[in-house]
Symmetry: C2
Subunit: 125 residues, 2 copies
């Protein structure tokens, strides 16, 4: 179940993108599945059509879904090869947080444990 919170300082369209990606990780969504229409989902979530549309295009830019004009959005098959470019992108996004964690007094082992716990909660929730 998707649940958005406008009180958070995370944009609604990004909350939606993340939660759809989490559903994919959990296996609640699989390759070939069709996402609801932007109007239908916007109605369900109580947000504007354009907010959902932006999220879908966000997911398309990430290579997660494919939007077929005037038909709908379909989950794409995930590449199992990680490109060097993609790895560098992920690295630059992780870096500021790793620095923050280190300054909070966490060592490498504790950060690994944190990551492991996050993976567990994403898979179980």
């Amino acid at each position: 179940m998707i649940c958005l919170n406008s009180e958070l300082d995370i944009p609604l369209y990004r909350q939606l993108s993340t939660q759809i990606m989490e559903s994919l990780v959990r296996g609640e969504l699989s390759t070939g599945d069709t996402l609801p229409s932007v109007r239908a989902l916007a109605g369900d979530l109580g947000v504007n059509m354009h907010t959902v549309n932006k999220s879908y295009h966000d997911l398309e830019a990430k290579g997660i879904i494919e939007i077929v004009a005037k038909k709908g959005a379909v989950i794409k098959a995930q590449d199992q090869k990680i490109t060097t470019q993609r790895l560098e992108h992920l690295s630059s996004e992780f870096k500021p947080m790793v620095v923050e964690a280190l300054l909070s007094g966490m060592d490498e082992t504790k950060i690994h444990t944190l990551i492991t716990n996050i993976i567990s909660t994403v898979r179980e929730d």
Copy 2:
């Protein structure tokens, strides 16, 4: 050496905060050290005084420095105890990236390796 890039879609004040935190991790800055005045650093970096000021207050909010009015900004001693609250905050910030990494085809082991590499580059650079 601090280097800002206005072409990136990361705010200048946040780039500055992160790079100061990296200097701390590397040991180039230590508890008790004084940061340059907001005007001096702004002049060196070619940005506005208020941008540096915002970064300093960002670091103060994170508990990294202490700003003494009309004197300067000093590096605070870092807490070595991680509160549950802080851990949950870090967890919620890491989560969207962990999900992205998983969908990129990375498994838990590969994410751990990525984190290890990031820590190495931050400490050596």
